[in-house]
């Protein structure tokens, strides 16, 4: 943020005030915290719909439909002919308006039609996503157990790959409940997945803690360096 202009100074000042309000929750919930919490939700709720309109509906739907993407040159010719097919966008838009029947007692089932349509589309996209993204990952996970490079055996890489595949299989086996486990090899191998899962959770936990703490450090730096300086300037002390 630019704190050299008066707007910049006020922006830093309010940002710091909000940060302190949020951190005041560590003591206990208080009106200062709740005010900024509600302000944040309000701003987020105001920004979200505008982003949908500004970044999606307007450039991708409304502008092509109105022919605003076509340039009229000085001699009357155009950059491209108008595509009347774009008017078909009115159909999904009108169909999407069925969402608002959710407020009608009598016709609320119409909202279910459009919700069902959206769920169906997302279901099919999820199926496509599984085969398009997860299947290549599954095949890629079964790495060669013996790694050779220009005729020589690579011990470290081979051990890593063996450990990778064994961990993958043991953890997958741990979550496999479809068949009876008692007495079978699968059942006997299942407990081996737990310690490996714990190693994974620990690493994941460590990464998350470090990421959050990095944010905390950034916030503290912002308060100590930027906010103090901006406040001093605003109060005429700096």
């Amino acid at each position: 943020m630019d704190s050299t202009t008066s707007w910049g100074l006020y922006t830093v000042f309010v940002g710091g005030l909000g940060t302190l309000a949020i951190f005041s929750f560590l003591i206990k919930e208080n009106p200062f915290y709740r005010f900024f919490e509600h302000l944040f939700i309000g701003i987020a709720a105001g920004l979200g719909p505008m982003l949908v309109v500004r970044d999606f509906l307007w450039p991708n739907i409304i502008e092509p439909m109105l022919g605003r993407t076509i340039t009229v040159y000085p001699d009357g010719t155009t950059s491209a002919p108008y595509q009347p097919l774009y008017l078909l966008y009115l159909v999904p838009m009108l169909f999407g308006c069925l969402y608002y029947f959710i407020y009608s007692r009598r016709y609320s089932w119409l909202a279910k039609v459009v919700i069902g349509f959206t769920l169906g589309a997302s279901g099919a996209l999820a199926i496509r996503g599984f085969f398009g993204e997860v299947i290549p990952q599954i095949t890629g996970s079964f790495k060669p157990l013996v790694v050779m490079d220009q005729g020589s055996f690579m011990l470290a890489e081979s051990l890593n790959n063996i450990l990778f595949v064994v961990t993958l299989l043991l953890v997958l086996n741990y979550f496999f409940f479809t068949f009876g486990r008692e007495g079978s090899l699968q059942g006997k191998a299942a407990p081996l997945g737990r310690p490996l899962l714990m190693v994974c959770f620990g690493a994941f936990f460590g990464s998350t803690v470090m990421a959050r703490l990095a944010l905390l450090v950034e916030r503290v730096q912002f308060i100590v360096i930027d906010w103090f300086a901006a406040t001093k300037t605003l109060l005429g002390l700096g």
Binding site: F95, W109, V113, R212
Partner: protein, 353 residues
């Protein structure tokens, strides 16, 4: 003899059927697009229309944006009007909502106006380029002299308009204005070369002259864009947007995430109490990852960052993938059930609220 048995369909059954059919139809396009061989999709011309069709699907969902706004305004407006408990917080929420809506709309409109203004200059270069392309292709367009005359007239009018509006305004953007003036001079100079374009066929000299106009026009558009965007960044609307977005939204979002850091650190204390071999493994793994990331870890051992990297890339990655695969299979089952309307009978029952 009793009454003949008449089976009538309830309206709710028909509604349920409509909902199920629509749910199925919603997914059939994307499913078939993935399933059908690519050659066939290309042959029927679906590849180039796929983006537009996908946009149509997104447009259906995008129409629901008003629902959230309506619910928020109705719930919090009710609390304010009837002075219910916490009405002042609702007021803060609605204040944030409306101020962000108004400022974002104003900033967007400003951006559209700037784009439209810049577009007028960009047309010079594009039109000159278009004349060259159409002449080479032999497209059915007005005769070449008519088009060149139209280009000359439009460019003259645009440059005069620029002098009277954009370049007439004073301010602290002198260097940017100088760049636009220089680009405008280049356009004027390049226009002089258009006298080489004569007759109905485009001569090599004429083509070169038009290419010069195209280049100069392109530069004019780019410099004007920089100037106008620099000017709009200094407007009150833009400053207000930055104030709400950078000063409040971004700062509060970062603070909320950082606050979670404190709670995670507290949770870490509880989680790291070693009660079994497994919790010890978890603690060691977390400690290696954390210490390997900071300089203190390097002071303890040079190998710690490498060990951290290995831990993340081999055992952690393998175990995490196994979890992901399990979740993905479950997600696949859920998606199939959702698409075929067997996930929730109550949803597709067709009954009202």
């Amino acid at each position: 003899m009793g009454e003949p048995l008449v089976v009538t369909k309830q309206p709710t059954d028909r509604r349920a059927q409509i909902i199920r059919v629509c749910t199925f139809l919603g997914g059939i396009y994307f499913f078939l697009y993935w399933l059908v061989p690519e050659k066939f999709v290309e042959a029927i011309g679906l590849t180039e229309r796929h983006e537009s069709i996908s946009n149509g699907f997104i447009a259906v969902g995008a129409m629901a944006i008003g629902l959230g706004l309506f619910n928020l305004i109705s719930a919090h407006g009710d609390r304010i009007v009837f002075r219910k408990q916490g009405w002042a917080y609702s007021l803060a929420l609605l204040l944030g909502l409306f101020s962000m809506l108004i400022v974002t709309i104003a900033q967007w409109q400003q951006g559209l106006a700037t784009t439209a203004e810049v577009r007028k200059s960009q047309v010079i270069g594009e039109f000159a380029q278009r004349i060259v392309e159409d002449s080479e292709k032999g497209a059915s367009v007005p005769p070449l002299p008519v088009r060149v005359e139209a280009l000359r007239r439009y460019t003259g009018e645009r440059l005069a308009e620029l002098d009277a509006t954009t370049l007439a305004a004073g301010g602290s953007d002198g260097p940017f204005q100088d760049e636009v003036r220089s680009a405008a001079s280049s356009v004027r100079l390049s226009l002089a070369g258009l006298s080489a374009v004569g007759g109905d066929a485009l001569s090599p000299e004429g083509k070169q002259a038009l290419i010069e106009v195209a280049k100069a026009g392109g530069k004019l558009g780019a410099t004007e864009s920089t100037l106008l965007r620099n000017r709009s960044a200094a407007t009150t609307v833009h400053q207000l947007y930055r104030f709400l977005y950078d000063g409040v939204f971004n700062q509060l979002g970062a603070a909320m995430f950082a606050l979670l850091g404190v709670y995670i650190a507290a949770a870490a204390y509880r989680a790291f109490r070693i009660r079994s071999v497994e919790s010890a493994l978890m603690m060691i793994s977390a400690l290696v990852v954390m210490m390997g990331q900071i300089s203190l870890g390097q002071l303890i051992s040079d190998q710690l960052p490498e060990l951290r990297q290995w831990l993340l890339e081999v055992p952690n990655s393998a175990a995490f993938r196994a979890i992901r695969f399990g979740a993905a299979v479950a997600g696949l089952m859920l998606a199939v059930r959702m698409w075929l309307s067997i996930e929730s009978k109550s949803f597709s029952s067709g009954k009202g609220q």
